[in-house]
Symmetry: C2
Subunit: 288 residues, 2 copies
């Protein structure tokens, strides 16, 4: 169209598509361009602001490596990653939440009742629950990939002092869907704020903290895989997770237990003298 104007540019964009364009490609790109155009018109985006945006993306590209994904982080702090998760969650199942960049391949096996903290110090947390379907029926033998931060706030892949498999474990629930393990509390940590996404957080007066959480990927044949996180209800950042990962149904409670009450049947049974905390969290999968 010869006469492109600020009001018709979205229509011109749409008119450029080839006739054989995949309908979904056309739908997504048209909506993307329309929202981008609406955004620019609505805020009357200036050339200087446009250049700030180009410079931001360029710097994000420069800092991105296989280990540091600044574009995912941008999506996370803008809430886009969480929104995509929520769009594809099943209401009756456990909500999904962001995978994050700290999952490792080939996690070591963790027996039911096994200990994930190994030699790390701290109050013992006993986590248990049942993997079940949306009708409440236990799902036997689901696979649960579990990971969390060490007490220093770092995941194993960030910390040269940790074994790569530290605070990672792969459990198979029993025939009644039960899973159980011991660990120490995961802790709050900050997303990387030394790059361009950190500049956005600072410009917006936002902190880079995430509430502490346990990560789970739960898989069982015939069910949709669940990628999620669970958060303790006493975490100071529960209401302001910088990546918007918290959902009502992903909040767990550490229930304090008296000294001497630690149960049998765990790898560390008989070795826990003091108080400990118990978490009961069921994982509900939707049918595939």
């Amino acid at each position: 169209m010869r006469s492109v104007t600020k009001d018709n540019i979205t229509d011109v964009f749409t008119s450029y598509f080839g006739e054989d364009t995949d309908p979904r490609v056309k739908e997504v790109l048209t909506a993307l361009a329309r929202h981008m155009h609406d955004f620019a018109r609505e805020v009357n985006l200036t050339h200087d602001e446009w250049r700030v945006g180009i410079d931001f993306l360029t710097r994000a590209g420069e800092i991105t490596t296989p280990e540091r994904q600044e574009f995912v982080l941008l999506s996370d702090v803008l809430g886009l990653s969480s929104l995509v998760d929520m769009l594809h969650s099943t209401p009756e199942a456990t909500s999904s939440s962001v995978l994050g960049p700290f999952h490792v391949s080939n996690p070591p096996p963790l027996a039911i009742g096994g200990d994930m903290k190994r030699d790390f110090e701290g109050e013992v947390i006993l986590v248990e629950g049942t993997v079940r379907d949306t009708d409440g029926k236990p799902i036997p033998h689901a696979t649960i990939d579990i990971w969390q931060t060490a007490p220093n706030g770092m995941y194993s892949s960030q910390d040269p002092d940790q074994d790569i498999h530290s605070f990672h474990g792969l459990m198979t629930a029993d025939e009644n869907g039960r899973y159980a393990f011991t660990t120490v509390r995961p802790v709050e940590y900050t997303v990387p704020a030394d790059g361009p996404v950190g500049d956005i957080l600072r410009a917006a007066g936002r902190h880079p903290w995430r509430p502490s959480h346990l990560h789970y990927i739960v898989s069982a044949e015939g069910f949709r895989s669940l990628v999620t996180e669970v958060f303790p209800d006493d975490d100071p950042y529960l209401d302001q997770d910088t990546v918007f990962g918290v959902r009502d149904d992903l909040v767990m409670t550490y229930v304090q237990q008296p000294s001497g009450s630690f149960p049998d049947g765990f790898e560390i049974s008989g070795k826990v003298d003091g108080t400990y905390a118990r978490v009961d969290f069921d994982l509900v999968l939707a049918k595939a």
Copy 2:
């Protein structure tokens, strides 16, 4: 907010801003997030599609260098660059259009009536006009930075066989605002389609062509600088510029002239035997 949902996530995002946030930063980021969220909800963006987007940005970062700016190219082919230009054009002045990546610093001086084609072959084009204000009054001594493609479709900065100043010139208009020079026709060319932006064009069934054009940056004290391009009305891509740069008032006409009619007062006067074309194009600046 503990209970982030797909419907309230934009409000949660807005609630995270610090109290001292610059109002413009808050306005732009809020609108950006809201449009991004609306886009994702509207198309029900899937995890796989989200990953395609992250992969796209990552690859764009990888291919971007000081000479190859894939993020600018993305903005160009989505129409965002042109929209920002149009948002800040003055209706009574000549429309602005995209700067593009091929401008060079320190262009060589080009006298009024000078020849920009130098030793290149081709039918001579005589371009002239007046730089004037929005009341029609000539602006004396405006500076006009002019550049274009060589006949092979390449700008000097793309072409190791051209001098870096080839088809670039810096002219100062006379006291009556007149500018004039000779050249050969600029030619159509493609934007770089060998990177991720090329993948978008192919997926959309779009070609990578731009209609031929002359670039101008016009500056004069007391006036807003004008960055623009002018396009011939007989160009096959006039109605489908892949970067949306054409505006009604930026279309020029090559008027064919008979042999032997080339005027005096030009650097190449007396050396033009055959036919040539004449272009008359006034450049209208808005007051600063």
